[in-house]
Amino acid sequence: MITFAWILQLIFVPMLSPLCIGIIRKIKAILQNRQGAPIVQPYTDIWKLLHKDEVVSSDASWIFRYAPFVVFGVTILVGASIPLFASFLQNTLTSDLLLIVYSLALGTFFLALAGMDTGSAFGGFASSREMTVSALAEGGFILALLTISLIAGTTNLFAISNAEILHTGKLFLPVVLAFTGFCIVLLAETGRFPFDNPATHLELTMIHEAMILEYSGKRLALMEWAAANKFLIFAALGANLFFPYGIGEHPTIEAITVGIVALMLKTLGFCLGIGIIESSMAKFRFFRLPDLLITSVILSAVAIGLIQIL
């Protein structure tokens, strides 16, 4: 049973992440009175890209060629190290909060380098913007997760998702404040409105899409897939650390099923929220983004202050 759960844990994120992207696109289509593509479209897109020939820029170095593997590999590694549907899969070796944050930063590092490697102006500026946003988001990210780890008394993510105190719903206010801060970071790190527009074809506003502009074929498939994985990772972190209801605590088939259903429902909630945000508001001007990110830091700092008073 445990082996089965581990295998499921390992392939869960890459298997289901394109579905989340498909769902978000469908929700946006419905809100915009369109029919929209079927929700399995991202799978067929990735499959199609994996069977295409490739063009690589003659200016590109090995950084450009190998970055997709590192970026995608990091999301697999992180996806397997965070609590998804079962908190009984205790792992004290790689599921530390800071290790997860900095592993994701490793992916961003190579993504930004790959953007600069081809010498195109779009890639370079996108890397600059991406690093600006992710540098400022890091404070909010770490502080939001720290709030929860202070409540639970550990930085191990599985132990946090298993903490009794979070299940009882005491300390509701700090958790909600930190969660709000986390949601801002989620939008920034996964390249969503109001930070970035994932559907744009206008170069001036692109961040993530401009960095991967020179990619094609298999490498583009990996980059797109990695972005989808990153979204599911953030959604799972938000769902399981702040509101770990329904997560499987015992290695039984029922607990795992309940865990998967609960995670999918919570992720659906994130998809719905992002769909509504992207259909109802405009992208922010780049220099207004720091205000939003600093707000997320302050929310988490206030949440940490509240823990003690309660």
Binding site: H51, V56, V70, G73, D117, S128, E138, T155, N156, A301
Partner: protein, 526 residues
């Protein structure tokens, strides 16, 4: 350091270094003389035993003097001004030694005096060190982002890393004065571990930067670009150094920062509001520093080694010679190994800390048995570097094998030129080092005070629509220079002018001075 004495900038940097270290030395001498007043000996052991006789007021003065004295040598903000001008002047291997070893002696003496000599530590000492550490780390990395001189950039990163070391040290002092010796040991271990790590990756970065400067004859990053194709080994080692200093796992920088984070987090659960908010600020500073350092090294690596060369000079660049490559390679290997064996190293440093007199009575020892996992006390967290490393390599290897051979094996890869909207792509279109950091500079303009001057020359004096030439001058105003050192200099100069009045040039006057001095001395010594 004044190796090339024909260069005026070198002489100036040398003098600044001389003056600053002498101010530091003066503070240190006064501090030791104050202790001597009570111990009547310069023997460290005797000084330690007689420290309890010193009144707390004098102790506080000694603390401030030691902090300024050794802080100047370590390069903490605001006594750092000699560091960024000394490094570009010195040859690169000297820079590597200076950053790797020399500035660490300041840290060593701080540990020696605070932990070894002083038995009781007031709370505000730790808070002061923690505050200085946060400011040094954050401002160090912000100033580094504004630089396009590669050695000044690395010099500012030394300031940042000294800040991170002081965060560990400050938390340790706070925990010690609160009586929690286990956590104090954790903070001290983190500081020592980061000291070692900084020595390895900063030496590696200075050596590889030196080899780039050697080939290109300039320190200006705006003239680099595309060097990865000409100097592949150097580029690879610089990449490893960049990843280590940006605290990316599985390299060593991450694990010492992890320990520092753990020490700071433990402090956050303190019931005292002041201490708690100090620790929250320190964690905020450390996490922001981490993010900005990452951005800074994407800029440094990208502008130096990626895309196309921005000047014709670079076509002659050759890779580093074998001995230099060997030196860099072994340092790069150290960066990886010190990361993978972080569990063992962490326990070594904590055992080292235990040998101090302060911690002789600590019973619950953390991390005492060497293990592959790095563990924080109270079960707060643990991380295993070897498992992460193996998992990481395995995953990437598998992904590569599957995508290459598992799916569509007959894929054709052809070379093409970068898409550029149909124009001719030139190196001028790449992002420059200044351009890369421009948005961050603008966001932090309150601290960095950038000033921009634009000069436009128009094609036609009548109409102002068609410009012929445009010059943009972007300058950072150093706030220490304007608000601390300039006023100090003014005061010093005005005092010197006043004292000049007694220099009349008349021999009889000088004989009178000698007479007055001798009589006063006789009266005083009577």
């Amino acid at each position: 350091m004044v190796y090339d004495r024909n260069d005026e900038a070198n002489i100036k940097a040398g003098f600044l270094y001389l003056v600053m270290t002498h101010i530091g030395t003066a503070c240190i001498i006064v501090a030791f003389l104050l202790i001597y007043n009570f111990s009547h000996s310069f023997e460290f052991e005797t000084m330690r035993l007689s420290i309890s006789a010193i009144p707390s007021f004098v102790k506080n003065i000694i603390f401030i003097l030691v902090l300024i004295g050794f802080g100047t040598k370590a390069g903490i903000i605001p006594f750092h001004i000699w560091l960024p001008s000394a490094h570009p002047a010195a040859p690169s291997h000297v820079s590597a030694l200076m950053s790797g070893v020399m500035i660490k002696t300041g840290i060593y003496m701080m540990i020696r005096i605070f932990f070894d000599m002083f038995g009781s530590i007031p709370l505000w000492w730790g808070i002061a060190v923690l505050g200085i550490g946060s400011v040094s780390a954050l401002l160090g990395v912000l100033y580094a982002l504004t630089e396009h001189d590669i050695k000044r950039l690395l010099a500012y990163h030394s300031i940042e890393n000294i800040g991170i070391i002081l965060l560990g040290l400050g938390s340790s002092l706070i925990f010690y004065s609160l009586g929690n010796t286990t956590l104090a040991l954790l903070g001290l271990g983190a500081a020592l571990y980061h000291t070692l790590n900084h020595a390895t990756f900063k030496s590696l970065l200075f050596l590889s930067a030196g080899s780039v400067i050697n080939q290109t004859h300039t320190r200006n990053m705006e003239e680099y670009g595309g060097l990865l194709k000409y100097m592949p080994r150097t580029a690879f080692f610089f990449l490893i150094g960049s990843m280590a200093i940006s605290a990316l796992p599985p390299f060593n920088g991450f694990f010492s920062e992890w320990l520092t984070f753990q020490a700071l987090m433990q402090g956050m659960s303190s019931p005292d509001v002041l201490i708690k908010s100090m620790f929250v600020l320190a964690i905020g500073a450390l996490s922001l520093t981490g993010g900005l350092a990452l951005a800074c090294f994407v800029k440094a690596f990208g502008a130096t080694f990626l895309a196309r060369p921005r000047s014709l000079e670079l076509a002659h660049a050759k890779d580093s010679a074998f001995p230099l490559s060997l030196a860099m390679g072994s340092l790069a290997l150290c960066c990886l190994l010190f990361g993978i064996f972080s569990g063992y190293l962490g326990s070594i440093f904590i055992t080292l800390g235990e040998s101090l007199h302060l911690f002789s009575d600590v019973s619950p020892i953390i991390n005492s048995s060497p293990d592959h996992t790095l563990t924080a006390p109270n079960g707060f967290g643990s991380v295993s570097a070897p498992v992460f490393f193996i998992f990481f390599v395995l995953v990437i290897f598998l992904v590569m094998i599957i995508t290459k051979f598992g799916i569509y094996r007959n894929q054709k890869i052809k070379n093409g030129s970068t898409w550029d909207c149909g124009t001719d792509l030139t190196p001028r279109m790449e992002i420059s080092a200044t351009g890369f950091a421009r948005s961050i500079i603008r966001i932090f303009s309150g601290v960095l005070r950038p000033s921009i001057q634009r000069e436009i020359e128009y094609r036609d004096s009548e109409s102002r629509y068609l410009s012929k030439k445009m010059t943009v001058n972007l300058k950072m105003n150093d706030i220490y220079q304007t608000y601390l050192y300039e006023p100090l200099k003014k005061i010093l100069v005005s005092i010197s002018i006043r004292t000049k009045m007694i220099q009349s040039g008349n021999l009889n006057m000088y004989v009178l001075y000698i007479l007055i001095a001798v009589t006063t001395a006789l009266f005083l010594l009577k």
